[in-house]
C-alpha cells in the first residue's frame, strides 16, 4: 500500500471520484461536470439557432418528452438501464486505462447469446431461465472483451482499434443470426422468435416497461463500486490505470490484469444486452442498440469513472434519448442531435474538468510519474 501512496504523493491533490470521497467536498466535485453541462448546452443552442430551430423549444420538448408524465419518466428509466450497464463497463476499463470503445459490440454479443439460449428455455423454472440467459449474456460479452484484452496484452494491439473492429463484427454477426439460424419461425422479418416466457425478467407497473432489470442495474453498480474501491483486484486495476510501468515494476501481473479488465468490462456490457432482450425487446433484431456502447463513454466520463455516479449520468443521457423522439415530433430536429450534445459534453468536460479521466492520462505533465495511459508504445512486460 505504501509504495502506491509514495508513487502518487507528488501528484496533484486528490481527484474527485478517485475513492468515493477523498479530500474534496462532494459539492466541489459536482461543480466541473455541471459547468461542463451548462457550457455544452449553450454551444448546442448556438448550433440550433444556426439551423433555424428554437433552443428553448427544442430543450423544452426534450424535457417534456423525458419527464412530462410518470409514463415518460418510467420510459426514461428504461432507456437509461442499458446505459448503466455499458457505462459501468466503460468506467471499469477506463479506470485501468484500457480504452474500451467496444461496449457496443460486447452488448450485442451478450444480446445474441441471451437470445440464442432464451428461445430454447420454454418450460424451464423462471428464476433458473433468467439466470441462465443473463449469465450467458455476460459470458458472451466477457469473451468479446477478453479477445481485445488478450490481443493487447500478448500482441500489443491497440485496444481502441481492436474493440472498434469487434463492434463491426458483432453487428454483422447479429445480422447473420437474425437472417439465418435465429430467424423467426414464420420467416417474415429478419428477427428472432420471442424468447421463452420463462426467460423474461419480471415486469411491473404496466403499461410501463419497468422491469427487474432496474434493481439489477442498481445492484450491479453497487457491486462494481465495491469491486473497484474495496477489493485488491480493483486496486490493482486502478494502479494499472494510473501508471502501467510502475505497476509492472512493482510486480503486478500486467497481462492478466489487462485481459481481466477487458473481460469484466465486456461482461457488464454483455449483461446489459441480455437484460435488454430479457426485459424489454424479448427478441433480437438488427439495430438493437442506438449507440449505447458509444454513449456509455460520455456517461462514464461525466461520472468521473465512478460506478455509483454512473447511475445519475446514465439517467441524464436516458432522458436525452427518451426526449429526442418527442423533440423530433415537436420541432423537426433530428434525434441524432443528442449525439451532438453528447460529443459537446465530452469536449467541454475534457477542457474544464481535469478529473474526468482519473488515472487515464488526464494531462498533467508529471515526468517520470506520467501515466503510460494513452501511450501506445507498450514495453512488453512479462507478468
Amino acid at each position: 500500500m505504501s509504495w502506491f501512496k509514495a508513487l502518487v504523493s507528488s501528484r496533484p491533490p486528490t481527484r474527485a471520484g478517485a475513492a468515493g470521497g477523498g479530500g474534496r467536498s462532494a459539492l466541489a466535485a459536482l461543480l466541473p461536470p455541471l459547468l461542463a453541462l451548462l457550457i455544452a448546452f449553450a454551444i448546442v443552442s448556438v448550433v440550433l439557432l444556426a439551423l433555424g430551430a428554437s433552443p428553448a423549444g427544442v430543450f423544452g420538448a426534450l424535457i417534456a418528452g423525458a419527464l412530462g408524465n410518470w409514463l415518460a419518466f418510467a420510459e426514461t428509466i428504461v432507456k437509461a438501464t442499458p446505459l448503466v450497464f455499458t457505462g459501468l463497463g466503460v468506467s471499469l476499463a477506463f479506470q485501468a486505462a484500457l480504452y474500451n470503445i467496444g461496449a457496443e459490440g460486447q452488448l450485442l454479443a451478450g444480446a445474441l447469446a441471451a437470445t440464442a439460449i432464451g428461445v430454447r428455455l420454454e418450460g424451464w423454472p423462471r428464476p433458473t431461465a433468467i439466470a441462465l440467459v443473463l449469465g450467458c449474456g455476460g459470458a458472451a460479452g466477457a469473451l468479446w472483451g477478453a479477445i481485445c484484452g488478450w490481443l493487447k496484452a500478448w500482441r500489443g494491439v491497440n485496444e481502441v482499434i481492436s474493440t472498434i473492429m469487434l463492434n463491426f463484427l458483432a453487428v454483422e454477426l447479429v445480422s447473420w443470426a437474425v437472417h439465418g439460424p435465429l430467424i423467426e419461425r414464420s420467416g417474415a422479418y429478419p428477427r428472432s422468435d420471442p424468447i421463452a416466457a420463462s426467460a423474461r425478467l419480471y415486469l411491473f407497473l404496466a403499461p410501463s416497461r419497468l422491469s427487474a432489470g432496474i434493481p439489477l442495474a442498481l445492484i450491479v453498480a453497487a457491486a462494481a463500486y465495491l469491486l473497484m474501491f474495496r477489493t485488491t483486484l480493483g486496486f490493482q486495476l486502478r494502479a494499472l490505470g494510473r501508471n502501467r510501468r510502475a505497476a509492472a515494476f512493482f510486480g503486478l501481473p500486467i497481462r492478466r490484469l489487462t485481459v481481466c479488465a477487458m473481460g469484466l468490462s465486456g461482461a457488464l456490457a454483455g449483461l446489459g444486452g441480455a437484460v435488454q432482450i430479457s426485459a424489454v425487446t424479448h427478441r433480437l433484431y438488427e439495430r438493437l442498440s442506438p449507440g449505447w456502447g458509444y454513449e456509455a463513454i460520455a456517461v462514464a466520463l461525466l461520472a468521473h469513472l465512478n460506478p455509483l455516479a454512473v447511475l445519475p449520468t446514465a439517467l441524464l443521457f436516458g432522458a436525452l434519448d427518451n426526449g429526442s423522439q418527442a423533440m423530433q415530433r415537436a420541432q423537426g430536429v433530428s434525434p441524432v442531435l443528442v449525439q451532438v450534445i453528447q460529443g459537446m459534453i465530452v469536449f467541454v468536460l475534457l477542457a474544464v474538468d481535469k478529473s474526468a479521466t482519473v488515472g487515464a492520462g488526464a494531462g498533467a505533465p508529471g515526468g517520470a510519474l506520467e501515466p503510460a495511459a494513452g501511450n501506445l508504445e507498450e514495453a512488453r512486460v512479462d507478468a
Partner: protein, 303 residues
Amino acid sequence: MLEAFAVSMIQTSAPLLLAALGELLVEQSGIINIGIEGVMLTGAFFAMAGAYFSDSVAVGLLAALVAAVALSAIFALLAINFAVNQVVAGTALNIFAVGLTGVFYRRLFGITGQALTVRTLAPVALGPLARIPLLGPALFDQNLLVYLAFLLVPVCSWLLFSTRYGLGLRACGERPEAADALGLAVYRLRWQALMVSGALTGLSGAYLTLAYTNTFVEGISAGRGFVALAIVIVGRWEPWPMAASAILFGAAIALQFGLQALGTVMPYQLFLALPYLLTLIVLGLLGGQAQAPSALGEPYARP
C-alpha cells in the same frame, strides 16, 4: 474481370491512403487522432452539400476542406492546447460528427427516401499509359484524388525523413520536452500537422461522395477512418509500407462486391465483415507498437 477488380481496388484504397497519410503526419508529431472517422464523415457530407447547392464539384471539395479543417481544429485545441486525453477527445469527435452530419442532413434535405445525387469527379486518363492491359486503367485512368493520394506517398516520405522540418516534427513525437528545450515550436508543429491531416481526411471523405459514389448516406464512412488508423500501424509509420497496406485493405473492401456478385453460398454478412476481420487479423499477426513514435498519445503541456 481482373482488370475491373484492379480498378476497384485502387479506387477503394485511395481514400484510405489519403486519410492514413494525414494521420501519419499527426502521429509522427506525437498525437493520435481517433477522430479521423468523424472528420471523414464530415468531409463526405459537406462535399455533397456543397456540390448539391452549387452544382460544382470544386465547391464541394472546398466545402469539405473547410468543414474538415474546422472540425480538426476543435480536436487540435483540445489535444494540443488543453492537453487532454487524446483517445477520449477523438472518440467524442466521432460521436459529435455523426450527430452533426445527421442533424444537418435531415434539416437541409429532409427524409425524402430518394438518394440525392451530385456531380462527380471525372476520371482523367493519362494518355496511352491508360491502355496498358490489366493495370493500365487501374493506375492511369483514375480521378485526381486517386493520383493525389499516391503522389503524396513519396512526398510524405521525403518530407518526414529527408527534411529539417520533418525531423523537427518527428522530434515532437519522440520527445516533446527535448524538442521544446531545443527551441522547436511543439504546439505550432502539431497544429500544422493536424490542419494538413484535416484537409487530407476531408478530401478522403469528399472522395466518398464525389467520386466513389455520387450521393451521401448517413454513416457512409463505415469505419474507413479506423481502417486508416490501422494502416498507419501496419505500415509501421512509413509511407511506402502504408501504401501497400492501403491497397491490401482496399482490396478487402473491393472484394465484398466482387464475391457477392459471384453469388457464393456464404452469407453476405461475411463479406461485409471482411475488411474489419482482416484488419484485426493483420494487426494481431504483426502485433506491436514497437515502431510507434515514443511519445505518441501522451498529452504534452508546455511547462
